[in-house]
Symmetry: C2
């Protein structure tokens, strides 16, 4: 059986990306940049005051200073500051000719004759210099950036009001199994409600992709075939849950093949998620995810999410932290790498949770991360560092 | 001057919350639950098979077993399993009467006479028992939960298709200053582009609240007054940037008072963000945030975000991690607590970034967290643990 790392390599091998589109920068939050962004100006665009105070010559700060002008932010200074002169200046306003520092208003006193006296004997220059943060034509954001609020501010500063981003990929979702009923129904003695499809819809939404829910395929080959065919035509990536195990009615991989899918793997040495199946079909890819909710969630995190990021051309590394365990963790069997729900606590330690296994629908409820234990390893000691992935 | 912790206590003191509304559970991602959610069923709702295999009596697993029935998921078993009998069973299907374990299909062989032989000498029972994950009427989600994909799955499982959540608070945003021009314009020699308002709009959107941008108030008392008045009437919380410093045109706090705002603080011993101003007015609250983009960003994280969470009744603790420094960090002055942009690297260490101060618009670009250094402290040693807040 292949490892999860080998599976991921196969999933990411296909050269695959969605188109890009130009949108208003204000609407680009959580999208992925499809171009480099450059500055059209120096920043600051002029030598500007970092403080409210008086602009003067550093040589004169211990002298009485004659006030010659007041410079609000947004106005160009009219006068040149000479020997023993100063101009009152607001934060963000341009430094007048002649001045090489700003003394802070809090450190000054206005004398009866209207002159200014500095009450300390030294000062920083309190000037933000032209281009000290960004120079004209400098690259300020790279293609592939996952756009966050601070990046929107950078686009605003450099006048990037229309921005090229990756289109949102369309992700088809199909639940399979005759035992599955939609959440609005009360299940009878042999049924369970469809939770996976809605979990997947939400996971897809979290990545700013577009979920396209195609419904429940009941356990008939024909219904499953029709839904898979429709999904492959209409979406960039198709996710199925259930029907990939060893049961008589687990014909999802077979139907995938009938629909022209080339299956690249149908088993991974990982727990939960061993029967995870992956294939490609023309321009679309398709996953057969396990039917248990935790398995489906974890395989989405480990395999589907990196693929959706790749489709969008996103260069943000998926964070995997290496943190110490708060308590000891043990498991009986170790023939697969395993991932289990944990909490990263406020001191950066990893705490285990009450967890009954992959069908434990609320095992993930309080979790903020999933934690890895390697193949062949039965326990993690207290204090030992482990790989965890925030969810 | 008050500390940031004292400021936060003042901000959160007011008893304040937005209304709630009932929405479809599928649309509740990133919203805050305004009710506890209980299960209407046991989960599993019956003893179900965890594997594809053969259900039989544990006593008989070393004997040849007669196959009496096939039980797909979604079907109720018709026959009782007797001595040396078994029923073929699919993952998720109900365990038939008489059986107390499931032997895995991979570990069995079908004999020529159609009987089943188990190839190992022991097995777990491979049964998920009725109610082992959730019992009927059990609370599965608490009021105040910030809803994530795994919570949507839990709601689906317990049939919670309509759910009470906090309404999205409306957050008004006003930029101030005559030197500010909108991003579509090319600034002249004394102007800068409006980046803060768009950063705030995006920060508000990240919390699933509704930004209401009221434009730039030019440096006139009347324009600022009219915009503040409108903002206080139309929104739950009003954010202004700029105009709170010590300059002649920094009349925001004065105008707030004119508009009937009771100012609760106008200075905090924190860097960046010292002139941050906060007040209350009837049912609305109002912040005067500093005009530098990093100051505005940081004060949003430290003060505004916890308030918006409180308004929505969210009980999710804002994560503050206590992690070791990768490198030494030094600062010259230490009379204020300070926060600076950092990266939490993949090994859980905190790395400092190139950062010129609070006007450094792209200082936050690569950051994934902000890091605290206490008042009175000039340096953080390599390896020393510090408080960081993911952004």
């Amino acid at each position: 059986m292949i490892s999860i790392q080998e599976a991921l390599n196969i999933v990411l091998k296909k050269d695959y990306s969605v188109d890009s589109e130009i949108i208003n920068f204000v609407d680009s939050l959580h999208r992925v940049l499809a171009e480099d962004v450059f500055s059209d100006i120096n920043m600051p665009p002029f030598n500007k005051s970092a403080m409210d105070g008086f602009a003067c010559r550093m040589l004169d700060i211990n002298n009485e200073l004659e006030l010659i002008e007041t410079i609000p932010a947004g106005k160009i200074p009219k006068k040149t500051v000479g020997v023993n002169q100063c101009s009152k200046i607001m934060t963000g306003a341009p430094i007048p000719e002649g001045a090489d520092c700003v003394i802070m208003v809090e450190d000054t006193k206005i004398l009866n004759n209207g002159n200014i006296l500095f009450l300390k004997d030294k000062t920083k220059d309190n000037i933000c210099y032209l281009g000290e943060d960004i120079t004209e034509n400098q690259k300020v954001l790279s293609k592939g950036t996952l756009i966050r609020p601070q990046h929107i501010a950078i686009m605003a500063s450099v006048g990037k009001t229309k921005v090229l981003v990756a289109k949102k990929p369309k992700i088809g979702i199909i639940a399979t199994g005759s035992e599955i009923v939609e959440p609005g129904n009360v299940p009878n003695q042999s049924q369970i409600r469809n939770s996976n499809a809605y979990q997947l819809i939400s996971q897809v939404k979290s990545l700013a992709a577009i979920p396209n829910y195609l419904g429940i395929a009941i356990d008939s080959e024909e219904d499953t075939y029709q839904k898979i065919k429709k999904g492959l035509e209409e979406t960039d990536l198709l996710l199925l849950t259930g029907g990939v195990s060893m049961g008589d009615f687990d014909f999802v991989p077979k139907i995938m093949q009938k629909a022209g899918v080339e299956i690249l793997f149908d088993k991974i040495a990982v727990q939960p998620g061993k029967p995870t199946t992956f294939g490609i079909h023309k321009k679309a890819s398709i996953f057969g995810l396990p039917g248990n909710p935790v398995s489906s969630f974890v395989q989405f995190e480990l395999l589907v999410k990196p693929l959706i990021y790749k489709m969008m051309g996103c260069n943000s590394a998926l964070p995997e932290l290496f943190l110490p365990m708060k308590n000891r963790y043990e498991r009986k069997r170790s023939e697969r790498e395993s991932w289990f729900p944990v909490i990263i606590n406020s001191e950066g330690f990893v705490e285990t949770l009450d967890y009954n296994g992959s069908a434990h629908i609320n095992g993930l409820g309080p979790a903020n991360a999933i934690c890895r234990i390697e193949l062949g390893k039965n326990c993690i000691e207290q204090g030992e560092r482990v790989y965890v992935r925030p969810i």
